[in-house]
Symmetry: C3
Subunit: 134 residues, 3 copies
């Protein structure tokens, strides 16, 4: 049982992926924590505008979309992931992924982005880490 | 605040992408309009067989799948997108995207398809724009 | 009207794709059969820990994620797919896909994976077919 985001960062580093995109990810997850923006939220998005949701599962991992880009300065790369989960009855739930444990397995294909100088930095407009071009 | 489909067409044109596929797209959207096929629909699909849904949001953009291909003749390229949206409580809704405004940001990775002569034309069988091989 | 998984296997074979990943798939499906893991399931996952769901549709095909890898030995390649479906009212349902018929059309882009020796074999730990490195 491993934490999905930590594993992704390690996999990327081990394969020399500075910038990457999730091309595909399916499997099953449990103990998933994600957050979604509340209604009537204005920009910039503040922590109190978001709702954190924790679900035990296990769930089918139906989709994991997102990317990995370096942060401004010397920090860790920023992994931005949105997840969708299938419940036993087939209902689908999801949002901006904070953390998750792998239940049975997760099959992830990451595409390496070459020739890009795009990075992530905090935006005053949205209040979030956004993609910027150097 | 910009219209997602218009932006996509412009990005593709600016990068010389005649045929492309959305490899990844996450972020947040608002004022989303999509439509889904009704039960008991037979082919060809007619406008009255579909249900248009408009939702204010904002929503987490959990997935945007689709592609861009030239249309038969001299028309604009056809952008075909299916969207999935996360509500504040984690419920997921979605369908065939007509239009949407970006709320905070949208991070889109488009793959360029080379060496293809596939294009879109109206099919008498389905009533929809379908992929055809020249 | 064709069975989605059979079509995928044939397409892959015809294009010399031994290992591949679904980069994008949208369209519409009907008579979809999928299964999801039940609550309180422990590893290894047994058939009685999963719930099979059959739905007539038609549905918007909102996402089809997954991959195709050779199985250990001389068997058929293993196609592993997770599906998400949009109902007329915009509700999304989905899970581990067993079979489906195409309703109007399905536009699938498959990426070929080169230079890999990864294959699928039954895992005693999870009870499922898992990716292994030779």
């Amino acid at each position: 049982m491993r934490i999905a985001l930590g594993v992704l960062g390690k996999i990327a580093r081990n394969h020399g992926i500075e910038r990457g995109v999730i091309l595909s990810a399916i499997g099953s997850l449990q103990h998933v924590v994600f957050r979604n923006v509340k209604r009537n939220t204005a920009l910039p998005v503040r922590p109190e505008n978001t709702q954190e949701i924790e679900e035990a599962g296990p769930f089918e991992l139906l989709s994991l979309e997102g990317n990995l880009f370096p942060s401004e300065g010397e920090g860790e790369p920023i992994i931005h992931l949105h997840v969708m989960l299938g419940s036993p009855s087939g209902e689908v739930r999801g949002g901006h992924l904070f953390k998750a444990n792998i239940f049975s397995t997760t099959e992830i294909v990451i595409g390496k982005i070459d020739g890009s100088s795009v990075y992530k930095a905090k935006s005053d407009v949205t209040g979030l880490m956004e993609l910027l071009k150097r």
